[in-house]
Symmetry: C3
Subunit: 159 residues, 3 copies
């Protein structure tokens, strides 16, 4: 039975890593629909209570309250009809109860029926496993044509 125990234990650990990776994809992907439907509270809840959204667009927002406030401002709300915060797939790096990911984001706006890209950025995500599931501890977002964006992209682990 020892061998069976060991094989089952190994499967459980590997399966948990796979489930974690899929959960992290869903977590990152759920930011856009929340922000673009104007629900700042829901968007903020992908972070931990004191999680940080550090963006060279919106500033360094510390804690969910600051994220909600940013998404409630007139500027963001005016963008909402026709706005899309899209992510392309990210490279996830799991490490037990912590994880990171690097990926690109596209923000689109629609004005007078015309879609146009508003902002392209590199993103570095830091996650922690909580009792409620994975949450974002820090998301760093830098406009693509900056040196910090290049540093974020450079931090992607080799596969």
């Amino acid at each position: 039975m020892d061998d069976v125990d060991e094989r089952i234990g190994a499967l459980e650990a590997r399966l948990r890593a796979v489930e974690d990776e899929l959960a992290l994809y869903r977590l990152m992907t759920s930011y856009g629909p929340a922000a673009d439907s104007g629900d700042g509270v829901k968007a903020s809840e992908i972070w931990t209570e004191d999680g940080v959204y550090d963006s060279d667009g919106a500033g360094e927002l510390e804690g969910r309250g600051a994220i909600v406030e940013m998404l409630s401002q007139d500027g963001h709300q005016a963008m909402v009809p026709g706005c899309a915060h899209m992510n392309t797939p990210a490279v996830i790096d799991l490490d037990g109860d912590r994880a990171t990911a690097v990926g690109y984001s596209q923000v689109w706006r629609t004005d007078d029926g015309t879609h146009r890209v508003f902002r392209l950025a590199a993103n570095r995500w830091e996650f922690v496993r909580t009792e409620l599931g994975w949450r974002v501890v820090r998301r760093t977002n830098r406009r693509l044509d900056t040196e910090p964006a290049r540093e974020i992209l450079h931090s992607t682990p080799r596969q």
Copy 2:
């Protein structure tokens, strides 16, 4: 042995959910290449026989035949060279033999060598497990700058 049976049974159920999520990603992702290579029949086969593609662009298409017809029309076929129906990752919500997903779509066209975005939309997908694998029961597609798009995005489940 009871404990071993239980642990193996739990692994089988969890693994099936993971396989389902990956199969649903592939299913959604395979629409674009079929539509953009002009193969309307293949594109329609991601739906069930009587599945619905309800789009405020192309209209409410009921059943594979209607989807094939739309993709065979001059307007679509004229777009095909240089056309791309791209999806960004979607948030999948599994529930046994049913599932839903919410995500964004981008349609690009190329005219005289210039790429331009043609349509950005919010998508809600409803799936059913069939003997042949997962199929789309209904895909609702709404242009991003409309209230129904906002409702689709708002329906994304919390993670």
Copy 3:
């Protein structure tokens, strides 16, 4: 015990397939950040030593050395600040120690603070499992408004 052995063996095989699919996603996704941070060596290492990057943009590059050379050229390096090689999700087809994938790529540039799409293409990836993990044997990249792009898209397997 035979039944337990069999069930565990089946789980191990299915789980390996799921891990393979996620590893292939990460491999494809890691090309962009390496290329866009100007690290040609890292970008080339997603291929096998003699892997081929066959692009109607950059030419048919045989072996990592040729890929590094292309990414080191003035033309590419001049693009790097504000450049993004983004992929949308791809349809992966696993077959033991080999795999293929079909997907779209977007190359963006940023000039004088303005983002614009530079090239949209269809991609066919061929992979092999090596001792170091999955690597690309051949990536074929064709501009979207060409017949070869349509053939790549047409090769996507039914789901």
